[in-house]
């Protein structure tokens, strides 16, 4: 069952295997589990301390925002939203790749997902947490933010379900919850593995509790697989709905540059785009750091790069189409909004976005580029920079010059804007580092399931024999 990769790669008829280095089941188990079991590596500690420090900055920022007021941000009267909502959409977008990989690729039976879906799902959850910071703290009176939930109260006041912002509340909280459930269901068998390999009582206890006493019973697997399938089936429309609804925040408004029907697909594509870029960034690092070359093969990364290329081109199309529609509508306000985007005071932001999102990824047309680790690492990062700018451009350039020239203004970030955004990375990476340290970052069970050896009819001639027996059994 050990394979000669080079030969495989040269022969397009045969797909490159998903596990290399001649690993057997046990090999896979150890490769993944050891990461969690071996003593804490120095680089990890360093990285963790840095993340913690940045998280501290976030704490200070939030204290200031709550204590003094969100006037500490650079917001003003034409521009009521800027870095806050930009950060929100940015993180939510990143989250989407996780669900996409674990749910949609699962439904499409893309076996190569198995070695990346665990980390990707974790990323989703942490990204959603990071995202929730922004809408949470951007309100003027955070201590009353709970009024957004339909809680019975003596005044019979209910939230306004017509508001896209309220749709957001439901969409994002549902999304976060379902992602956690999905992730946890996937984790249980691997937690059982860690429990069974546990060298200390404590580990056995902790992993044991979270493994819920999983014993790999096939009678359980039957329900389990069905549940997994249905959660995937539920997550798929959910993930699409979430970014659609996020885009409604803008599409439902009357603002030129926001009021656009193309937004839902455009935002979803953008979300997948940025999400995959983030996964590539993280995987490239994790792969190098933990020597997972056999499980996270070039083929995995290449596939993701293909998706980046595709979605990147989609958003490029959307950018173009926006301008066309603005011109075709003949609505002067629309025309101005987009001209101003490309040539107004925020042109620098717009062109940064174009070069990062549309031009950069085109390199992935060349196999050399999509399979080169340094190239994909750089592009994956620039893509996320570009996607942050996309949201900033959409939000701020549309707001700063809308209908009445008399109220036009300009937004400039303050140090608090910057520290808030920076801090959100602190939160994200702190959680992500804890994850890679204490949980299996690759779905052990699922990887085994896609190895050739996992097929009960794998060995030569097995299939015929099996069918024969099956026939006899039923006969």
């Amino acid at each position: 069952m050990s394979t000669n990769t080079t030969l495989q790669d040269e022969n397009p008829a045969v797909r490159a295997p998903l596990v290399l280095g001649g690993k057997d089941f046990h090999g896979v188990t150890t490769a993944v589990s050891e990461i969690v079991e071996r003593p804490t590596p120095k680089p990890w500690i360093l990285g963790f301390l840095i993340s913690l420090a940045v998280l501290g900055i976030l704490g200070a920022t939030l204290a200031d925002l709550v204590g003094v007021g969100i006037g500490e941000w650079g917001l003003n009267h034409p521009v009521g939203w800027a870095w806050d909502i930009t950060g929100f959409v940015f993180w939510i977008g990143i989250g989407h790749a996780g669900t996409l990989i674990s749910a949609i690729l699962f439904l499409f039976r893309q076996k190569w997902r198995t070695s990346i879906n665990r980390a990707a799902e974790a990323m989703t959850i942490f990204a959603v947490f990071a995202a929730l910071l922004f809408p949470g703290f951007h309100v003027g009176r955070i201590w009353l933010a709970y009024w957004m939930f339909p809680l019975p109260n003596q005044m019979n006041m209910w939230p306004n379900f017509r508001s896209p912002l309220l749709w957001d509340v439901f969409a994002v909280s549902t999304y976060g919850t379902v992602s956690i459930l999905f992730w946890y269901v996937g984790l249980v068998p691997d937690l059982a593995t860690l429990r069974d390999r546990a060298s200390t009582k404590l580990r056995q206890m902790v992993y044991g509790i979270f493994a819920l006493g999983w014993r790999g019973s096939h009678r359980h697997w039957v329900n389990y697989e069905r549940a997994y399938l249905m959660l995937a089936g539920l997550s798929t429309p959910l993930v699409l709905s979430v970014h659609t609804i996020v885009s409604f925040d803008f599409a439902v408004s009357v603002l030129p540059g926001w009021h656009t029907t193309i937004f839902p697909p455009y935002f979803v594509a953008g979300a997948i785009f940025s999400g995959f870029a983030m996964v590539v960034t993280l995987m490239v690092v994790a792969r190098a750091a933990y020597g997972l070359h056999d499980l996270l093969t070039i083929r995995h990364l290449e596939n993701m790069n293909k998706i980046i290329l595709a979605t990147g081109t989609m958003v490029g199309y959307a950018y173009g189409m926006e301008f066309f529609i603005a011109w075709y509508s003949g609505n002067d306000y629309e025309v101005y909004a987009f001209t101003n985007r490309a040539f107004g005071p925020y042109a620098w932001a717009y062109w940064t976005m174009i070069s990062c999102n549309v031009i950069g990824p085109q390199l992935f047309w060349f196999k050399k580029m999509r399979t080169s680790i340094p190239v994909m690492f750089v592009i994956s990062i620039t893509v996320n920079i570009g996607m942050w700018f996309e949201r900033f451009v959409i939000i701020s350039t549309s707001l700063h010059r809308d209908f009445l020239p008399s109220s036009w203004g300009y937004f400039q970030p303050t140090i608090i804007d910057i520290s808030m955004f920076l801090g959100s990375f602190g939160l994200f990476f702190t959680m992500f580092l804890l994850f890679v340290r204490y949980l299996p970052m690759i779905a052990i069970g699922e990887v085994k399931a896609v190895m050739p050896a996992a097929n009960p009819h794998g060995e030569h001639g097995e299939d015929e024999r099996h069918t024969a027996e099956a026939a006899h059994a039923h006969g």
């Binding site: 306004n160 002067d332 005071p345 009445l404 036009w408």
Partner: protein
């Protein structure tokens, strides 16, 4: 360009709108220019004032006194255990009084809540108010509660140890008085402001009688001496000019800002607008020509504005007279010869103008008015008077009325005072109000002269430059807490009636003089006595009470004098007139739109009130034209040194002001006070240093040099063009007559259909109509709204970050040539859309529609997502980024984020108890003064009317508008004024194509240009 499905039709006014200043001239600094919009934090904060805490305590203690106001003659402070008559807690009371203002008086009705004056309104009975008030009157209530006011008298410097009680002050005064009586009053000099108070005059006469040696002087930074002198030359006696523009068809202003700063501005604005109200399409309209160097409010309302340097303005007046006499046979007698030197072409491009204007004037004899600016030389006023007389305008459109008194209040008087001070003739200098050390002509060096007086007593509201040099500082009463009287420009006499007992046991001018004379009569007794003499008789008590109630003594207005022209004298004066020759740059001086002559420098409302034309706040700057800027390589915000040949220089930022004459620098005096309260501190630059007796209004021979420094100028509007958007829709009278509904057809859009049934508004349906033809852009509505709705200030830094909170703003757009543009104004309150985009997006339903169609804002439900503001196409929603109302007092960290005036124990007393003071993190906006609507509905219910009558509820902005441009009422009441206006063909809603269904609509702007000047 093809513009289906919806497009703007042909702009009937045929005007080309240019893009913003720098965009027009595609300068390489275009990008920088845009970056200039950066509300970047690098602006100086308003620095905290250390005395504040102490002041608050003072405020608190005496505040209690204020809470028990009473206008009883006894002037006793009564506790509510014995409630003053008429006072019902929660029910406001209105008292009539009058505010002395720049050479006239504005009659007022002041709203008072449980004894606290909270809101100023105009007095409909008063000729100079007619129910309206201007920005200065509106904001004067804030000065009453200014925490930086003098709260005690001092002997020497203002400091705790120098405090003196009222008794000590009285004792000291009478001691001085007796001392002076000893030497027959010699050595006593009294300097007053340009007052118009009969009682004060009487007191001063009394002083002269008892102290024959005493001398009385006057000083006003913006004296009207030249006007009176002009009519003295023309008619033989010094008469004041009171306009009756309602009778004028053609109005020509030669350098006069009569609608905003000169004469009786409120009355003039009303009269001007009344001649432009277009009930139906065939209505007539007056026509206004303005000749000026600096773009004024009056100039912006002109049908034709001639932009020439100030030095050429007199020449133009002369040329006009010449043209009238020679071409139109207007009989000016000898004057004709005297002005013969002034060929119409004498000044560049004026020839055509002079001819056209002369023709128009001649065609409207008796129904035209020629108005000269206060600051122009007497000779010009004389010629103008002669022209008006010859045209038969005198007595019809231009009334020459008796001057309240004839003594000078200008350079002549103050120079004389300084003379005798320097000569050591004065040992006791009594300064009643004003701030001569700051405002007197620089070359007189009043400060130095003042030291010559052994005893100098300053009597004023605030500690200022003069107070600092005085040996005695006597704290004055604000007009809202003093008894007095004042005559308006036309002579109408009002009693200045206190709304509240003095907060700080302060003195009126009358008290001070009475003290000096050793008398014991209160101001109240003195005023009564004056009018007893005037209107004595058996029913005096009745007249007096009526006067208190009406706010004026009926029939006290002077009748227009029958005048006889003296052409010979006018000719002589005209010949003697020396026209200034071009020599480098010229500098002109104007009152500051925020600080006036400096007396309002500590008034936060005024400081944050954008200048009507430049929209500049919290500052003053040297206004220069684009051409002048380019010639000197300057951009707005560049700091320059402005030096005069005659000596003297000033470091000040420049601001490119479209419409400013080339090679002419307009300066406003009054800012840059050194000794001032926390609000005015560090605001602006003091231009008085350049103002000398030799050039009080215009001076030549100035030069600019760039210092390389930059200064942040906080403007509330940074983009000055409409981008070709149909926001202000305007056309000419002629075109309007052809297509009265041009405004409604200007934007073509698909039918505005709805998927579902609209809400029905059965009961009241409140709406507002704003007539852009009437709006003169004076900002009165903005302050009125600020006072009525407890709107906080955000300070210079706030404005720089475009966080100003005004609920109604006046947008000003320029169009046409950048050097000489034409300006339009558009007051913009919440449009109260029926399909309000803001409501749908609020996640907590904090803003919803009332059954009467108001777009209600529920402050205590708002959590501050700002989504509503983002989705408001009109950007009228205002967000409390900080606790503007309180934190700047309670939390030092907030200082500078909102000026201190937002809250202090005294400031608190001004708040309107019927309006919530908004907290941090809450969105706010115009509510159509919902508190007033509720009041009116309750009243209607009480009187068993089934619905509120038209006019029973008026919004603050509509009430104070001098030109009645804002009309508010019930659209369901077909008879109401608002319903009638809404039905007019001129009516349109801005951005109505978005189907927001705005309840606030606009009446298109109509201008009445002269054909001959049109093809220019």
């Amino acid at each position: 360009m093809k513009r289906a499905p919806y497009t703007y039709g042909q702009d009937l006014s045929g005007k080309q709108y240019w893009r913003s200043l720098d965009e027009l001239a595609e300068t390489p600094e275009f990008k920088e220019a845009l970056e200039r919009e950066f509300p970047d934090g690098a602006s100086e904060l308003l620095d905290p004032v250390t005395r504040r805490a102490f002041m608050n305590l003072m405020g608190a203690t005496v505040g209690l006194a204020g809470l028990t106001a009473c206008r009883r003659p006894e002037e006793k402070i009564l506790p509510y255990s014995k409630r003053p008559e008429d006072v019902v807690e929660g029910m406001p009371l209105y008292y009539a009084t009058a505010m002395p203002f720049a050479g006239t008086a504005i009659g007022l009705l002041v709203e008072s809540h449980t004894g606290r004056p909270t809101k100023i309104e105009g007095n409909p009975r008063h000729a100079d108010s007619l129910g309206a008030a201007n920005v200065y009157a509106q904001s004067s209530v804030l000065d009453l509660y200014d925490p930086d006011r003098l709260t005690s008298s001092y002997e020497g410097k203002v400091s705790v140890e120098n405090k003196r009680t009222a008794e000590q002050v009285k004792a000291a005064l009478s001691a001085r008085g007796t001392a002076l009586k000893g030497k027959g009053g010699t050595g006593l000099a009294i300097l007053t402001e340009a007052h118009r108070s009969p009682t004060l005059a009487r007191q001063l006469d009394e002083v002269k009688k008892q102290l024959p040696g005493a001398k009385v002087y006057r000083w006003d930074a913006f004296s009207r001496d030249n006007v009176r002198e002009g009519s003295r030359i023309a008619f033989g006696r010094p008469l004041d000019v009171s306009l009756a523009l309602e009778n004028a068809k053609v109005i020509v202003s030669v350098g006069s800002d009569f609608m905003h700063t000169e004469g009786s501005p409120v009355k003039n604005a009303r009269a001007f607008a009344s001649g432009r109200k277009l009930a139906e399409a065939n209505a007539e309209m007056n026509r206004l020509y303005v000749v000026e160097s600096h773009y004024t409010v009056t100039g912006s309302n002109a049908d034709h504005r001639l932009r020439i340097p100030a030095r050429d303005v007199p020449a133009f007046a002369m040329a006009l007279a010449r043209e009238l006499a020679t071409a139109h046979g207007v009989n000016l007698g000898d004057v004709t010869g005297a002005v013969d030197a002034y060929k119409p072409e004498l000044v560049e491009k004026t020839g055509k103008w002079a001819r056209a204007v002369a023709k128009d004037l001649a065609a409207n004899r008796g129904t035209s008015a020629l108005i000269a600016g206060d600051s122009l030389p007497p000779a010009v006023h004389a010629v103008v008077a002669a022209v008006n007389h010859a045209l038969g305008n005198a007595g019809k459109t231009v009334n020459y009325v008796k001057a309240v008194d004839e003594s000078s209040d200008g350079v002549a008087s103050i120079s004389a005072l300084v003379q005798s001070l320097k000569a050591g003739e004065v040992d006791t200098l009594l300064i009643l109000g004003g701030n001569p050390v700051f405002t007197a002509p620089a070359d007189l060096d009043f400060a130095a002269a003042m030291d010559k007086a052994a005893v100098s007593i300053f009597h004023g509201l605030q500690e200022n430059e003069t107070a600092q040099k005085a040996k005695w500082v006597v704290h004055a009463s604000h007009y809202l807490e003093s008894w007095g009287d004042v005559r308006a420009l036309d002579g109408t006499a009002s009693v200045v009636q206190p709304l509240v007992a003095p907060l700080y046991a302060s003195f009126t001018e009358l008290d001070v003089l009475e003290g000096l004379l050793g008398g014991t009569r209160s101001s109240h007794e003195l005023v009564r006595a004056t009018w007893q003499a005037e209107k004595g008789g058996v029913d005096f008590e009745k007249n007096w009470r009526r006067a208190l109630h009406d706010g004026l003594f009926a029939g006290t207005a002077y009748a227009p004098e029958a005048v006889e022209a003296k052409p010979a004298d006018v000719a002589a004066a005209a010949r003697a007139l020396v026209v200034q020759k071009a020599d480098g740059l010229e500098v002109t001086f104007h009152p500051d739109s925020h600080a006036w002559d400096g007396k309002y420098a500590n008034n936060g409302w005024l400081q944050e009130m954008p200048d009507p034309m430049t929209k500049l706040t919290w500052d003053n700057a040297a206004f220069i034209s684009k051409a002048t800027a380019d010639a000197n390589g300057l951009r707005s915000g560049d700091v320059v040194t402005l030096s005069l040949k005659g000596g003297g220089s000033l470091t000040i930022p420049v601001l490119i002001a479209p419409g400013q004459a080339d090679d002419s620098v307009a300066l406003t005096v009054g800012q840059g006070r050194k000794v001032v309260g926390g609000v005015g501190k560090g605001v602006g630059f003091d231009a008085y240093g350049l103002r000398k007796t030799t050039g009080m209004s215009v001076v030549q021979g100035a030069s600019l040099s760039k210092t390389g420094g930059r200064h942040d100028l906080a403007q509330t509007q940074t983009h000055h063009v409409m981008e070709g958007r149909p926001l202000v829709r305007e056309t000419t009278l002629e075109k309007y007559r052809q297509t009265p509904n041009f405004a409604q057809t200007m934007v073509q859009h698909p039918p505005l259909l709805s998927l579902f049934d609209d809400f029905k508004y059965e009961g009241h349906k409140w709406g507002m109509v704003i007539d852009l033809t009437s709006c003169i852009g004076c900002n009165a509505c903005m302050v009125a709204c600020q006072a009525e709705n407890n709107i906080p200030l955000v300070g210079k830094k706030g404005v720089l970050m475009s966080r100003e909170m005004h609920w109604i703003r006046v947008d000003r757009y320029y169009e046409g040539d950048i050097g000489d543009p034409h300006a339009v104004f558009q007051p913009l309150p919440c449009q109260q859309c029926e399909n309000a985009p803001c409501e749908q997006v609020c996640p907590v339903a904090a803003t919803t529609h009332s059954s009467e169609g108001l777009n209600d804002m529920v402050y205590n439900r708002c959590i501050g997502t700002r989504y509503c503001a983002n989705n408001c196409p009109y950007k009228v929603r205002r967000f409390n980024f900080f606790n503007y109302s309180t934190d700047n007092i309670t939390n030092p960290k907030e200082l500078g984020k909102g000026p201190e005036v937002n809250w202090s124990t005294t400031r608190e007393m001004q708040f309107n108890p019927n309006v919530t003071v908004r907290a941090r993190g809450v969105m706010e906006k115009c509510t159509y003064c919902v508190q007033r609507i509720q009041e009116a509905k309750i009243a209607a219910k009480r009187e068993q009317q089934e619905r509120v009558k038209d006019g029973a509820v008026v919004t603050a902005c509509a009430q104070t508008c001098p030109t009645e441009a804002i009309i508010f009422g019930d659209l369901n009441d077909k008879g109401s004024r608002v319903a009638k206006h809404a039905a007019s063909p001129r009516d349109y809603g801005i951005l109505a194509e978005l189907n927001t269904r705005p309840r606030t609509t606009y009446q298109a702007k109509i201008r009445n240009p002269n054909k001959e000047l049109e093809q220019a």
